[in-house]
Every structure is written in structure tokens, then in C-alpha cells.
């Protein structure tokens, strides 16, 4: 198989028995205490090709850890994970060619302009600078970002504008799997809508599979074909939004289903989500 190609029958993402823990160390008197807490506790998942899978969960539930495992940035303690049939550890380099990620924090060199940041990113993925600039201008225009915003340092742009540039950067490399880690958190309603529309357009026009982490129920319901609800490191329900609502919140919405499944307190979670935003 060519380095950048994908087997037509491969499942986009498949993982089994994924455990991931992190250690924290602190000194208590003269003793060094090491505490290990687990972000993922035996997660199984499968994402079909061309599907948008939403991962819905409260803060600290393991969403970002799961995305980082798919992005080859973490090594699981136990279990295995494959992207289009390629193991994320053994075939790391080939997996990296197929993926790109938009994270909640815009990861840019803040003093550089968008053009300079995009030139760097495109270069890392073997895309020529000329092609990258033309493509970025087109993508950003469709996201409602003016051309002159490409010429100013990133630090002078709003968070919404930075996030649109992060999306353009990810799309420049034509990823077969897009990992979207809370891409609309902190955006104003208009920017949020622009990004959501764009995600749907990308799915319509490209051979792209997406994994979307969010705690925005409306966004998950609007964009996702299926939703996996993750809580305390475990996926506790998976289904289409309609199935989840029918099974867990008859007469209610996805939010009711989510609270029913997780047993969480609605008010506390809303306060957390608003705090994040």
C-alpha cells in the first residue's frame, strides 16, 4: 500500500481495550508520592469511513486523551488502536500522513502571520507554499475570513479567527481523518455556525472521516452521524443521536439523554461548559 493511500475497506479508526494513565508526583514531607490516575479505562471504539463520530463527555472524561492517542501523540498503556488498518505505534509515520488535528487551543507561532504559519505547516506535510497559500485563501474565504487577516500576526486575531486558520491549516494537507478537539469552544455564535457549516461541507465534498470531541449537545446533534458518550474514561453509550434520544430521553433531547446516561448533574455541567467557553 502506498504511504498516503488507504485500503478502501479499512475501518477508519478501530481500538480495543485502551487504557491510559498519567502519573503525578509530589513531595509529602521527605517522601515522594506518585499517584497514577487513569484518563481511559478500557475503551473500545470503531469509526466507519466517511463518518462523523462525536465524542461527548464532561471535562476530564478522557476525550482529549483519546484524540491524542489517534493523533500518535500518546502511547496507550494497554490495548491497541488502528487508523485505516495501521497501528498508531508501529506504523506511526504512515498514520501521520493520513491525519490532521484541530485542537481547542490554537497552536500557532503567535508572532508569525497566518501566511507564515501556514507555510510552515504545509512544508511539514510536503505541500508547496504556493499551493498552500492559494488553498488557504480559498478555505478562509469560505469560512468568512477576510484576506487581509492572513498578513497580520496571529496574536492580533480573535480566537474565532485563529480557530478558522487552524481549520484551514488542517485541511491544507487533505487529511483522510480529521481530529477535531472542541473546535468551536469559545467561539461566538456566528463563528461557531461558520465552522459547523464548513465541517458539513468538507464531509460532503471530500473523502474525509471526522472524530469530533465536544460538550456542545446541539453541535453534536447537528454534525454527528453517531455519538459516543464517554464518562470517567469509559465509553458508556454509542448510537445515532436519534437512537440515543429514543433509548434514554423519550420526548426529550440529546442533552436529557446525556444526563440520563452519565447520571451527571445538569446545572454543574452547564456551569463547567460556560466556564470553558
Amino acid at each position: 500500500m502506498d504511504e498516503g493511500s488507504v485500503s478502501p475497506n479499512a475501518v477508519a479508526v478501530e481500538g480495543q481495550g485502551l487504557w491510559k494513565g498519567f502519573s503525578t508526583k509530589k513531595w509529602v514531607g521527605t517522601k515522594r508520592q506518585v499517584t497514577r490516575s487513569y484518563a481511559l479505562k478500557g475503551v473500545d471504539l470503531a469509526v466507519k469511513r466517511r463518518e462523523i463520530l462525536g465524542i461527548l463527555g464532561p471535562n476530564g472524561s478522557g476525550k482529549s486523551t483519546l484524540i491524542r492517542l489517534m493523533a500518535t501523540l500518546l502511547i496507550p498503556d494497554q490495548g491497541w488502536l488502528k487508523v485505516f488498518g495501521l497501528d498508531v505505534i508501529r506504523d506511526r509515520q504512515r498514520v501521520r500522513r493520513l491525519i490532521n488535528r484541530v485542537s481547542v487551543e490554537a497552536s500557532f507561532f503567535k508572532k508569525l502571520t497566518a501566511r507564515e504559519n501556514l507555510a510552515y505547516a504545509a512544508g511539514l506535510y510536503g505541500v508547496s507554499n504556493a499551493k498552500a497559500q492559494v488553498e488557504a485563501t480559498r478555505i478562509l474565504a469560505s469560512l468568512g475570513l477576510q484576506r487581509d487577516k492572513l498578513e497580520v500576526p496571529l496574536e492580533t486575531l480573535s480566537r474565532g479567527q485563529q480557530q478558522k486558520i487552524a481549520i484551514a491549516r488542517a485541511l491544507l494537507t487533505s487529511p483522510t481523518l480529521m481530529l477535531l478537539d472542541e473546535p468551536t469552544t469559545g467561539l461566538d455564535p456566528t463563528s461557531r455556525r461558520d465552522v459547523q457549516e464548513f465541517v458539513l461541507n468538507v464531509r460532503r465534498e471530500h473523502d474525509s472521516t471526522m472524530v469530533l470531541c465536544t460538550h456542545d449537545m446541539a453541535e453534536a446533534e447537528r454534525l454527528c452521524d453517531r455519538i459516543a458518550i464517554i464518562h470517567e474514561g469509559r465509553i458508556i453509550a454509542v448510537g445515532t443521536p436519534a437512537d440515543l434520544i429514543a433509548s434514554y430521553a423519550s420526548g426529550g433531547g440529546l442533552e436529557d439523554a446525556f444526563f440520563h446516561i452519565t447520571g451527571l448533574d445538569q446545572e454543574r455541567l452547564r456551569a463547567e461548559a460556560e466556564g470553558d467557553g
Binding site: A71, L73, L74, R94, A106, F108, G123
Partner: protein, 269 residues
């Protein structure tokens, strides 16, 4: 694009990114350069406290130390702080999930460090030459250039080992690279012969590539010794580079694996 072409393209992207950053922080770059020029001049001015007979030779002796230290510390610092810098900007995960070999990324960082170090050193050299009107008729520049090229490799290797530390521990790692740089400055005979060092510390001088670089550079510029005379020292430096660069790369890859296991690639990790 062929796989090799892609890697070369990526390597150039890292070099270009760093020069873009220099342009964006131009004010600071000029301030640091100004400080480096003044620092070199003040060190060389120490020679004016000596009798006139020793003055010219001491000016050159001190200037070589200051210039070489400037070049070698830029090499070490740029390579060693590449991880800290990306972590501080929040871009480390993005750069490290790119589909390129780590060697390509690090080669880009090293190539930039050499180009940037040479440019800054030339500016300081010109300033010093204008200030002191030094006569360097005896100097063997070919020998000096050979030594500079030979010393780049071990310093890149040391830089790669230094770059590992911030991967292991965010803040302490960056602090440790400063300590390493300080020790090299102390023991390498930058501004004095290593014979003046106390015995309990002098053994470290023999481990520092900077000691051999300075000795050879002074022999080339002060005594006019040519490439042939300097060959044994150049080979020594080159061989230490051949050990330190692969060692640095191997250690870096081990540390990256460790960071991926422990989740310390993350900015706040």
C-alpha cells in the same frame, strides 16, 4: 513529491520558520546583537590594562574566545531550546505529529542554528575589527574555517542532548540546559588557558569540545598554523561529533518515546 523531496522540503520549512521568527522579534535580535558586540569589546578591552608589548596578542586571544563562544553557544542554545520554544508557543504537538522523520526536524533546527550563528558572529567580527584595527596578517583563515566546521558537529550533538531535557521536565529541563552551558563556559578556556583552572575541575576541560576548538582556532589565527598542522585536532573534533550527533539523536528519540508514554509533550504537561 518523492519521499526524500518531502523531507528536504520539510527541513527547509523549519529553517524558514525560524528566520521568520527572527524577523518578527527583530527588536530583541538587535538588542541581543548590540549586547554581544559590546560584551566582546569590553572583554577585548581588558588587554589594554596590560603592557603594550602583550596587548595586540591578548586582544586577539580574548576576541577569539568571545567570538567562538558566541558561535558555539548560539549553536548549543538554538538546538537545546528548540523544544522549550515550541512548548512555550504551544506548537510542539503540531510539529511532532507531522509525518516527517525526527532527524529532518532536528536537522532543520541545526541548519538554522549554524546559519544564524555564522551571521551573528560575522557581524561581531566586523564590529571588533573596526574598533581595534587588529592586524591579522599571520592568521591562517583556512585552518580557522576548518576548525569552525569541525567544532559545529560536537556542539550540535551536545545541543541535541540538551534539547532532551525539556522533553523530560518542562521547566527544570530548560534550567538544566543553562547549567550545562555555564559549565562548558567555565571549563573550556574561553578567556584563559585551562591551566589556570583548579585541579579538581580541570579534568572537565578535556571533555569539552570547546577546549579543542579554542586551542586550534588560536593556533590558526595567532600562530598562523595551517590545516595540515591542525589536522589532528580537527579529526579529534570531527570524531567527537561523529559520536555525539548519533548519540544525541538516539537520546532524543528515547526521550520523545518517554514523553509520549507520560503525556509530557502537551504544553501544560
Amino acid at each position: 513529491m518523492s519521499p526524500t523531496g518531502r523531507e528536504l522540503h520539510a527541513l527547509w520549512s523549519v529553517v524558514r520558520r525560524n528566520f521568520h521568527l527572527v524577523r518578527r522579534y527583530l527588536g530583541w535580535e538587535l538588542v541581543f546583537l548590540f549586547y554581544n558586540v559590546i560584551n566582546t569589546l569590553t572583554i577585548a578591552l581588558i588587554a589594554f590594562a596590560l603592557p603594550p608589548a602583550d596587548r595586540d596578542r591578548t586582544i586577539i586571544y580574548l576576541t577569539i574566545g568571545a567570538l567562538l563562544w558566541n558561535f558555539l553557544s548560539i549553536l548549543f542554545q538554538e538546538v537545546a531550546s528548540s523544544v522549550s520554544w515550541e512548548r512555550w508557543e504551544g506548537t510542539i504537538e503540531y510539529s511532532f505529529m507531522a509525518p516527517i522523520h525526527r532527524l529532518t526536524y532536528l536537522a532543520g533546527v541545526c541548519m538554522y542554528a549554524v546559519l544564524y550563528g555564522v551571521l551573528r558572529t560575522i557581524v561581531i567580527l566586523v564590529a571588533v575589527a573596526l574598533f581595534f584595527h587588529i592586524h591579522l596578517a599571520r592568521a591562517d583563515w583556512l585552518g580557522a574555517a576548518m576548525i569552525l566546521a569541525g567544532s559545529s558537529l560536537p556542539f550540535i550533538g551536545l545541543g541535541l542532548i540538551g534539547a532532551v531535557l525539556p522533553l523530560l521536565s518542562t521547566e527544570r529541563g530548560a534550567q538544566a540546559t543553562q547549567v550545562i552551558q555555564g559549565v562548558i563556559l567555565l571549563v573550556s578556556g574561553i578567556y584563559y588557558p585551562i591551566s589556570v583552572l583548579p585541579g579538581w575541575i580541570r579534568w572537565m576541560s578535556h571533555l569539552s569540545p570547546a577546549t579543542y576548538t579554542l586551542e586550534a582556532a588560536r593556533r590558526a589565527i595567532l600562530n598562523g598554523e595551517g590545516p595540515l598542522h591542525l589536522l589532528p585536532l580537527t579529526i579529534k573534533l570531527f570524531l567527537s561529533g561523529l559520536i555525539l550527533v548519533p548519540l544525541g539523536l538516539a537520546v532524543f528519540q528515547l526521550a520523545e518515546h518517554w514523553a509520549m508514554r507520560n503525556g509530557t509533550l502537551k504544553r501544560s504537561g
